[in-house]
Amino acid sequence: MSNLSTASLLTKKDFESNQDVRWCPGCGDYAVLAQIQKLMPQLGIPRENFAFISGIGCSSRFPYYMETYGMHGIHGRAPAIASGLKLARPELSVWVVTGDGDALAIGGNHFIHAMRRNVDLKIILLNNRIYGLTKGQYSPTSELGMKTKTTPLGNIDRPFSPTAVALGAGATFVARTVDSDQTHMAGVLKRAAEHKGTAFVEVFQNCIVFNDGAYDAITDKSVRDDARLMLEHGKPLVFGKNKDKGIRLRGLEPEVVTIGEHAASEADLVMHDESAEHSGLAFFLAQFDAPKFPVPLGVFRAVRQPTYEEMNTQLHTDAAARKGRGTLAGLFSSGDTWTIK
């Protein structure tokens, strides 16, 4: 164990624990682990001030591999555990690593409420659209018709988008990236780390054993540029191999247009504004799905709002200012008392 605590001297290696990583060879989780270990030394935070909290599932093994404080909790409850930790210790940098089953099925309630409160947590959801640890059942993000061990005749549960759920719950930072694009993931994770408030990142993550190729359309170099939309703040929504396609609005209906055709020019395209107070644009982007629309990657929303623990601290400051710091003697004898001689 290293004794380093001076943030500036840390390297990626300082964040690698001595535990053997036990994900399947080729699992997308490795890439996320590597990027987060690489990111940690860049944040200027002493290593001992990081805490990684997880639930249950393949992704939830994550804390064991980080040479930081960490807790492998119970299924779905990581956001609740992390919220308690952050409230008790606002100075810590608290990260939640979760999956589509952990966060959206068994832990759906905690997931939405952490974001509703804007607790300053970094929630990284590794979405592989399948239950891996229990060996291949469908998850809340599995596509309709998908055949799994529990849907031998095809999935009839409609999937939902983690990003849309996060936006619906009022998350102040929402982003999406993909395991195979290291540069993009590094950028998004850094933005998340620097955000004050709940930062939610959905990582499209390939499960090589039970759902291999789930994201081929947006990761395969030969087709991906036409299938994904890289979000850039303040820039028009442009995509395609030749950067010639864009998103235009007809009333409230989005449409894909080719620039130069049908009187479409870049000036007609929707501009991306991640800092819009209203989350309507972000929510509208979160609805985009293949094959009709390109799948957006990048930062959907980033707004600064008071965090839960900031407001909690303020409540304490105000109460102490109004009533004075409490004393036991004062507390015990408050209210109606009488004396027996």
């Binding site: 535990q19 404080y69 119970i74 027996i340």
Partner: protein
């Protein structure tokens, strides 16, 4: 309006000032106030108990209310009651049978009359005995007129009408005037028991400081009720209960939930460690959350979680961060917290889980009293999952138990379950205010020395070190998977698992050596020993006193620590021919005793949502010795 004017107002309605009434001296009195759940009976009862306490009496109360907030008026299921016993001696229960019943409507009379002592006083709010209300209560004729109450001394008083009369010059609306009638009833009772008004008037003005016109109306109603009882010849006698011989000190009236909240803050202050409460509202535990939420000028954070599971999980997170973490709940919520309790056992982190028990199973009887979660507390988890369990025996005892729960939690690095119940939680009794300097010490040590650190190395108590995130050089991982005996890293090694299961069990079992010697009340050996736990305390004490006074060989021991059981209990059990365990369940402690000591025990079971009457235990004693 002055007192004189108020008196005049009541005199107009038929009463006239008579000669001073003779005063009869009593040892104890039990009064029950009953009415619609919206009639303010809990408030009237509370106010009366405060007035009684300030006069130097000991008292005990039992609020009994429906789970509906405002059930339809006049219905049998909407009846809300508050019983108080006060006496010239120590009081341990709210009394078996009321000497006085104040019934605000026919439904209240119907559901409570059978409990009242023969020859007792019934004060009936006669104006509410309308045809409609009589029908709702299932009366074919008005019991106030048909002679059916011949066994009781009945006083018919139209409280609503007399209150309205007294307040006719107040300018308040009819609805607002209606709300003052409980103070009229209080005034009647204060007069009947020869209590002065001044202090109560002060309290009303304080309570309604923001609404002076309401305060004055309530004061008028109070005075009018008092003057009515004073002036009328309806009460031929008034009563006086001598003040109790109570230990000198400053007192206040506290419910168990309030006392527990104060105890938890005390634990936090004694340890110099922040308190964190993660909780989800549930009857009858919510008042602890209410009380602590208002104490942000202490180092207290309250978190109203999205559900019961988040209540305990946020607490685990806070405890991991080094706070004194606690969660509060009742039976169904306890069931939801089960998995997280297992995690806390594996993590070996200190936290306190308060279960203010209610009638079960499932939603059961949310507002009624029961002790049926004992086996759940001791055993109700997957795996070999030992957790220390303690139980409070009275409202004031909740204060001490709160501190004891955290003492065990931090010393042994374990979750601790603290059992209370709806009776204790909501009932009030006088609490002698302690000197903070005289409270037990609560030492909390976080490990900060990285040299030789192993996450699951243990001290002499088998407790591992508490290491807070943020401590340099000691980064490590914990989790719900089985872990290595020393490092805490994941381990599936068969022998290691057995060793870990055994050491977790041994750690909790070892607490038996850290429990003060039991106090047996009564003969050191003999025919009968009553073993009790929790809120049955008062009824058992009084039943034993009564039986002992008649020469019966009966002793009583009351357990605070239920897991592990105290190390001296086995020897104590051997000294008596028969063991009786009165419990508000089907015999859960009895099962534990049989299992631990291979000793036959007799169960006295009551699961009616009501506390034991002294007589129920007394009668059983007479049968057994």
């Amino acid at each position: 309006m002055s007192v004189e004017a108020a008196t005049a107002a009541t005199a107009e309605s038929g009463a006239r000032r008579g000669e001073p009434r003779p005063v009869e001296e009593l040892d104890s009195v039990t009064i029950r106030f009953v009415g619609d759940s919206g009639d303010g009976m809990q408030l009237t009862g509370n106010e009366f108990s405060r007035a009684i306490a300030k006069a130097g009496h000991d008292f005990a109360t039992h609020p009994d209310y429906p789970s509906e907030i405002r059930a339809p008026t006049g219905t049998l299921f909407g009846v809300s009651g508050y019983q108080i016993q006060f006496a010239s001696r120590a009081v341990f229960t709210s009394g078996d049978a009321p000497d006085v019943l104040v019934a605000m409507n026919p439904a209240a009379l119907k559901t409570n009359l059978s409990d009242v002592k023969r020859g007792g006083i019934v004060i009936a709010n006669s104006g509410a005995f309308t045809d409609n209300n009589l029908a709702k209560a299932g009366y074919k004729a008005n019991p106030l007129d048909d002679g059916s109450l011949g066994d009781y001394r009945v006083y018919k008083i139209d409280i609503a009408e007399l209150t309205a009369h007294a307040l006719k010059a107040s300018g308040l609306s009819k609805k607002e005037v209606g709300r003052c009638k409980n103070y009229y009833a209080l005034g009647l009772m204060l007069s009947l028991y020869s209590r002065p008004l001044e202090k109560e008037e002060e309290d009303i003005r304080h309570k309604f400081a923001k609404k002076p016109e309401v305060a004055e109306a309530n004061v008028l109603a109070l005075r009018a009720g008092y003057a009515y009882a004073d002036a009328t010849e309806m009460f031929v006698t008034s009563y006086k209960v001598r003040t109790a011989d109570i230990a000198p000190g400053t007192y206040r009236s506290l419910t168990g939930n309030h006392a527990a909240a104060l105890g938890f803050v005390a634990a936090s202050e004694l340890a110099g460690v922040p308190l964190f409460l993660g909780s989800y509202p549930i009857t009858p535990a919510t008042d602890i959350l209410h009380e602590l939420s208002a104490l942000k000028h202490f180092n207290v954070t309250t978190f109203q979680a999205e559900d019961e599971i988040a209540g305990i999980c946020s607490t685990i997170g806070a405890a991991y961060g080094g706070a004194l973490g606690m969660t509060t709940t009742s039976g169904p919520g306890m069931a939801l917290k089960t998995e997280a309790l297992g995690l806390a056992v594996m993590l070996e982190l200190p936290l306190v889980i308060v279960n203010v028990q209610r009638g079960g199973p499932s939603t059961g009887l949310p507002t009624k009293i029961e002790q049926s979660d004992l086996l759940q507390a001791v055993y109700g988890r997957n795996g070999e999952c030992p957790i220390p369990v303690i139980a409070a025996n009275s409202p004031a005892d909740c204060f001490d138990c709160a501190i004891e729960a955290f003492r065990l939690a931090v010393k042994y690095m374990t979750p601790v379950i603290f059992l209370s119940d709806g009776g204790i939680g909501n009932a009030a009794e006088p609490w002698r205010i302690p000197d903070p300097a005289a409270l037990p010490k609560l030492e909390v040590k976080y490990r900060t020395e990285p040299e030789g650190f192993q996450a699951y190395a243990r001290d002499g108590n088998l407790a591992r070190a508490w290491v807070r995130p943020g401590t340099p050089g000691m980064e490590h991982r914990v989790g719900g998977l089985e872990k290595d005996f020393l490092t805490g890293n994941i381990s599936h090694d068969p022998v290691n698992h057995q060793r870990m299961v055994e050491v977790r069990a041994a750690k909790v079992a070892g607490i038996a050596q850290d429990i003060p010697p039991l106090k047996v009340e009564g003969p050191e050996q003999g025919d009968l020993l009553i073993v009790g736990w929790g809120s049955t305390y008062g009824s058992i004490v009084q039943a034993c006193e009564k039986a002992a006074a008649e020469g019966r060989s009966v002793a009583h021991v009351h357990l605070r620590h239920l897991n592990p059981l105290p190390s001296d209990l086995g020897d104590i059990l051997k000294r008596y021919k028969t063991i009786l365990v009165p419990e508000m369940n089907l015999g859960q402690l009895a099962r534990l005793l049989r299992e631990h000591y291979l000793r036959e025990v007799v169960t006295l079971s009551k699961v009616q949502g009501k506390p034991f009457k002294v007589s129920e235990i007394y009668d059983r004693i007479l049968e057994l010795c």
